[in-house]
C-alpha cells in the first residue's frame, strides 16, 4: 500500500487559544477537546464522556461555553478558545477560581475546569440578559440559587460538590454586581 492511501484526510486549522495563535495540521476527525489535550498539551479541559453528556470538556469558544468533545476542530478555523488555563490573569486567579477554592467547590477536581468555564459563561450570559428555563418571562435574569442550578446543570459532578459550586458562583456574581 502506498503512503498516500494510508494517510487520513487532514486540514490546516488556525485557532487562537488563551490568546496564543496556533496553526495546526489536524486529522479531520479530531475534536476540539483532543486538539487541546493531545496536540497543545492543554489538559485542563477534561474528557468525562466524549459524547456531550457530562460537561467536563466545557471551554469558551468565541466567548460562548461549548462542549469541546462535540466540536470538530476543522470546523472552527479562526475561532478564539478560552480554556481553564486561560482564566487566570497570570498569577492572579479569576474570581471564580478564588471562590471555588474558598467554598471547596470540588473534591477530585476532574469536573472543575468544566465547571469553571461553564460558570464564566453563565456570568456572561446573565450579564447579556439571556434568560434560562427558570427566568420569569419578561424579566432579566438574576443569578440566585435557582438560576445557577439550572444554568450549571450541564456540568456533572459525581463528587457532589453542587451546593458549594452554587455558593461559589453566587458569591462571584454578587461581587461582580457590586463592583
Amino acid at each position: 500500500m502506498d503512503d498516500e492511501s494510508r494517510r487520513c484526510p487532514s486540514s490546516e486549522v488556525r485557532l487562537q487559544v488563551n490568546g496564543t495563535p496556533y496553526r495546526l495540521r489536524l486529522d479531520n476527525r479530531t475534536t476540539l477537546l483532543d486538539t487541546l489535550r493531545e496536540h497543545l498539551d492543554l489538559t485542563g479541559a477534561k474528557k468525562g464522556c466524549d459524547h456531550g453528556q457530562c460537561g467536563a470538556c466545557t471551554v469558551l469558544v468565541d466567548g460562548r461555553r461549548s462542549n469541546s468533545c462535540l466540536l470538530l476542530a476543522v470546523a472552527l478555523d479562526g475561532a478564539a478558545v478560552t480554556t481553564v488555563e486561560g482564566l487566570a490573569d497570570g498569577e492572579r486567579l479569576h474570581p471564580l477560581q478564588e471562590a471555588f477554592l474558598e467554598h471547596d467547590a470540588f473534591q477530585c477536581g476532574y469536573c472543575t475546569p468544566g465547571q469553571l468555564c461553564s460558570a464564566a459563561g453563565v456570568l456572561a450570559e446573565a450579564a447579556d440578559g439571556m434568560p434560562s428555563a427558570v427566568t420569569p418571562v419578561g424579566e432579566s435574569p438574576r443569578l440566585d440559587g435557582g438560576e445557577i442550578r439550572e444554568r450549571m446543570s450541564g456540568n456533572l459532578c459525581r463528587c457532589g460538590a453542587y451546593p458549594n459550586i452554587v455558593r461559589a458562583v453566587q458569591d462571584t456574581a454578587q461581587a461582580g454586581a457590586a463592583r
Partner: protein, 702 residues
C-alpha cells in the same frame, strides 16, 4: 519533648492541591505527556457467553496509523491473577458482554478508534443467564460476604419470637444495579524501559497496582513504578486494579513505546465493577410500643461467573438495633454478567435502605414517632457480637438532627400536607458505617533547609488526603501546617492501603503520626531539637499497632432528615432540604469533611430518585451505560444540603481519634428520602429508584 498541642487538626484548611485543580495544571493519569505515545482502544465482546473463534484484523491493521491489534492469540502471556477479571486476552472464553475481546493500538486517538471499529470478531455463542431473581434456582450461600463477614447469623429464635410478636412487619425492598461513574474514566499510560515498567494510573491505591503488575508480568516490584498523583474520583470502582492497567502495560510491551488507554465511558459498566441489584426481605416483630423483639434481614443478590462478590446488605442489621432474636442471611447467584464490586458503602448502603425503610414502616404501624422508635431500640452493646461500642452517637445525631430540622412540629399523618398541586413530606433515617484501618508505612523527614516532608503512598481521590495528612503530621511534630509537605500517590513511597472502606485517613494518618512522633523524639533526644546538617528521616510501620485490634465494636453513626415535594400532576419529586448529622469521631478538617458528607448524601439522592440500570435479557448487558441514560444527580436536582456533626471523643480508634467519613453520607440517605415520599403521598416506595412514572401510578392508585 513537650506534648503536641493540637493546632492544625480541626482547622478548615484549604486543599493544598486546590490551586492546581482550579487552574487546570493538575495532571490526571493519561494527561501526563509521554513522548511518542501510542493510543489504545478496546474492542468489547458482543456476546454474553461463549468463545472467540476468530479475530479478523486485516482491515483494522490497514487503517492509517494502525500499529497492532492484541487478541487472545497474540497478547503477552500473564501469570494467573488473583482477580480473574484481570486475565485479559488470555483465553478465547467470553464470560460477559463487554469483556475485552481485542485491543487496537494506533498512532493517534482517532486512528485507534477507527482501528478498533474495523476489528471483526467471530464468536461461538452459548446460551446465557443474566436475569436476577430472588427465587433463582441456582441461588447459593457463599462462604462469606464482602469484607469477610459471615454469610448467616442467628441469635435467639427468630421464628417463634416473630410469630408471637404483637406487631409484625414483613416487607421486601429492591435496589437496581448501580454504577460508580467517577468523572474521570479509568485510564492508564504505561511505558517500558527494558524490564522496568512505569505507569501512570487512575486508581485508589497504587501499592496494589504495583503488586498486581509485578505479579502478572513476573517482575521485581522494585522495577515497577505506579504514579497516581491526581485521581478523578473512584467511589470504589478504582479500589482494585482494573483491566485498563493490564491492557496498557501489555500494549506498551507489544508496540515498544508508551501507550495511553482511557476507557470510553460506556465500558465502565462492563469493565470496572458496579453495585449488584439486591432483593431484601425484612421482617420485624415488635411490641405495641415499637420495641423490637425479632428481626430478620435476608438479602439476595447476584455476581458474575468470573469472580464472586457478595454485597453484604444484611450486615447493618447486626449492628443497628437491639433485638433478642435475629436472623441475617445472604444468598447469591452467579450470572453471565460483568463482575460487581465495591461501590460507595457496599452492604451498608443498600442494606440500610431496606432496614431504615422497614423501621419507618414499623414506627407507623406502632403509632410511634420514627425518631423516638429508633431511640427506644438503642442497644447497650453491639447486638451481633455483644461487644461494647467504643462510642455510639446515633441518639445524639437523631436528637440534634431533629432539633435543627424542626422535626418536632411534624404532623405524622401521611398525604395531608398540600401546597397547591404539591404534596410535601419529611422523613428520617439512620446511618452507620464500620471503622476500618489497615497497616501502612510512612516516612517523615526534617529537611536541612527547614520544613518537614512526610511520604506515604496514599491516594487522594478527592478526599483531601494530602491536606489532612499534612495536618496530622504538623500536630504530631508540633509545627505549623504550612511547614509540612505531604507526598502521596507514588508507589516508590512507603506502602499504603487502598483509599477505600473509609479507612484512608485512619490508616495513612496513623502511620504518618507514628513516623512524625518518632522524628520529633529523635530530633529532641539526639539533636537538642535542632535539625542535623544532613536532615533526618524516620520511617514507621503500623502493622503491629493495627493488628492489635480492639475489644470494642467501632462504627460511625448518623441521621438523615429530608423534605420532598411531589408534583401531583407530573409525579416529579423535588428534594427541598436534606440535613445530615454525623458522629464520626474527631473531624480533622471541617471544610473537606463537609464536602465528603455532602457528596455521599448527593449520591444517596441519586440512588433514591434517579440511578439504576437494567439488564437486557437478550444481549446480556447493562442498557444504561452512558451518562445520558444513567442519570446521576445534576446541580438542579440537589438542594442546599446541610451537614453537621457532634463532637465525639473516642480513645479506642487511632491516634487522631477519627472515624471514616467517605461513605457514611450515602448510607441511609435514600431511605430518608423514600420515607419522606411516603409521608408526602401515603404510599410506600420499596423499589428504587423512584421515578415519576412510579409516583404517578401510586398517586393514581390511592
Amino acid at each position: 519533648m513537650s506534648t503536641t498541642s493540637s493546632r492544625a487538626l480541626g482547622t478548615p484548611l484549604r486543599r493544598v492541591e486546590g490551586r492546581a485543580k482550579a487552574t487546570g495544571t493538575a495532571r490526571y493519569a493519561v494527561e501526563h505527556s509521554a513522548p511518542g505515545a501510542a493510543y489504545a482502544w478496546p474492542v468489547p465482546a458482543t456476546v454474553a457467553r461463549g468463545a472467540v473463534t476468530a479475530v479478523h484484523c486485516a482491515d483494522a491493521l490497514a487503517e492509517p496509523g494502525a500499529l497492532a491489534v492484541l487478541t487472545h492469540e497474540n497478547a503477552p502471556r500473564l501469570r494467573e491473577p488473583q482477580d480473574a477479571t484481570l486475565a485479559v486476552l488470555q483465553s478465547p472464553e467470553i464470560a460477559h458482554r463487554g469483556q475485552v475481546a481485542a485491543l487496537a493500538v494506533a498512532e493517534t486517538l482517532e486512528a485507534a478508534r477507527a482501528c478498533a471499529a474495523a476489528v471483526r470478531v467471530e464468536y461461538a455463542q452459548l446460551p446465557h443467564d443474566v436475569v436476577f431473581r430472588a427465587d433463582h434456582p441456582r441461588l447459593y450461600a457463599p462462604e462469606q460476604v464482602n469484607a469477610g463477614y459471615p454469610t448467616d447469623r442467628e441469635r435467639g429464635g427468630f421464628d417463634a419470637a416473630y410469630a408471637a410478636a404483637a406487631v409484625q412487619l414483613d416487607a421486601t425492598y429492591r435496589t437496581p444495579p448501580l454504577h460508580n461513574h467517577p468523572m474521570e474514566p479509568h485510564a492508564t499510560v504505561a511505558e517500558w524501559d527494558g524490564s522496568r515498567l512505569l505507569v501512570r494510573d487512575s486508581d485508589q491505591g497504587s501499592s496494589d497496582a504495583r503488586r498486581t503488575l509485578a505479579d502478572l508480568f513476573g517482575l521485581d516490584p522494585e522495577d515497577v513504578l505506579v504514579v497516581s498523583e491526581h485521581v478523578g474520583g473512584g467511589f470504589g470502582s478504582k479500589g482494585t486494579p482494573r483491566p485498563q492497567l493490564v491492557l496498557a502495560a501489555m500494549a506498551a510491551r507489544v508496540v515498544q513505546r508508551p501507550v495511553k488507554l482511557a476507557l470510553p465511558r460506556r465500558l465502565l459498566a462492563p469493565l470496572t465493577g458496579h453495585r449488584a441489584p439486591t432483593v431484601q426481605r425484612v421482617r420485624i416483630g415488635a411490641d405495641r410500643d415499637g420495641r423490637i423483639t425479632a428481626l430478620a434481614h435476608e438479602s439476595a443478590t447476584c455476581t458474575s461467573t468470573v469472580r464472586e462478590f457478595v454485597e453484604q446488605s444484611s450486615v447493618p442489621s447486626r449492628v443497628m438495633y437491639a433485638s433478642p432474636n435475629s436472623r441475617t442471611t445472604h444468598r447469591v447467584v452467579a450470572l453471565n454478567l460483568p463482575s460487581p464490586s465495591w461501590m460507595r458503602a457496599p452492604g451498608e448502603c443498600p442494606g440500610m435502605f431496606a432496614l431504615e425503610s422497614a423501621v419507618d414502616e414499623l414506627a407507623e404501624a406502632c403509632g410511634v414517632d420514627p425518631v423516638e422508635l429508633r431511640i427506644r431500640n438503642e442497644p447497650d452493646a453491639e447486638p451481633d457480637s455483644g461487644r461494647p461500642f467504643s462510642s455510639r452517637g446515633l441518639v445524639a445525631c437523631l436528637r440534634e438532627g431533629a432539633r435543627r430540622f424542626g422535626w418536632h412540629d411534624r404532623d405524622p399523618r401521611p398525604g395531608v400536607h398540600r401546597e397547591g398541586g404539591l404534596l410535601l413530606g419529611t422523613g428520617v433515617a439512620a446511618a452507620t458505617y464500620p471503622v476500618y484501618a489497615s497497616p501502612c508505612a510512612a516516612e517523615a523527614r526534617a529537611e536541612p533547609g527547614g520544613g518537614f516532608t512526610v511520604g506515604i503512598n496514599a491516594t487522594d481521590i478527592g478526599t483531601g488526603a494530602r491536606t489532612v495528612l499534612g495536618q496530622i503530621a504538623a500536630d504530631a511534630l508540633g509545627v505549623p501546617a504550612d511547614t509540612v509537605r505531604a507526598l502521596v500517590g507514588r508507589s516508590d513511597l512507603p506502602r499504603a492501603s487502598v483509599a477505600g472502606g473509609s479507612s484512608g485517613t485512619a490508616s495513612w494518618g496513623w502511620a504518618v503520626h507514628k513516623a512524625c512522633r518518632e522524628l520529633r523524639l529523635r530530633l529532641d533526644r539526639d539533636h537538642g531539637g535542632a535539625v542535623p546538617p544532613g536532615g533526618l528521616t524516620v520511617t514507621a510501620d503500623t502493622t503491629e499497632d493495627v493488628r492489635a485490634g480492639s475489644e470494642y465494636a467501632r462504627h460511625a453513626f448518623g441521621a438523615h432528615f429530608a423534605e420532598v415535594q411531589v408534583d401531583t400532576g407530573t409525579g416529579e419529586v423535588r428534594v427541598r432540604r436534606m440535613l445530615g448529622m454525623f458522629a464520626a469521631g474527631r473531624i480533622l478538617n471541617p471544610r473537606t469533611a463537609r464536602s465528603q458528607f455532602i457528596g455521599g448524601m448527593t449520591m444517596g439522592l441519586g440512588m433514591a430518585l434517579l440511578e439504576g440500570s437494567t439488564v437486557d435479557p437478550r444481549f446480556g448487558d447493562h442498557v444504561e451505560a452512558d451518562l445520558a441514560s444513567y442519570h446521576v444527580p445534576t446541580c438542579a436536582d440537589v438542594p442546599d444540603i446541610e451537614v453537621g456533626w457532634i463532637d465525639e471523643e473516642d480513645p479506642h480508634l487511632n491516634p487522631m481519634g477519627s472515624k471514616g467519613i467517605g461513605e457514611i453520607g450515602i448510607v441511609g440517605a435514600a431511605a430518608a428520602l423514600t420515607n419522606a415520599l411516603h409521608h408526602a403521598v401515603g404510599h410506600r416506595f420499596r423499589t428504587l429508584p423512584v421515578h415519576p412514572d412510579t409516583v404517578l401510578a401510586a398517586l393514581g392508585a390511592l
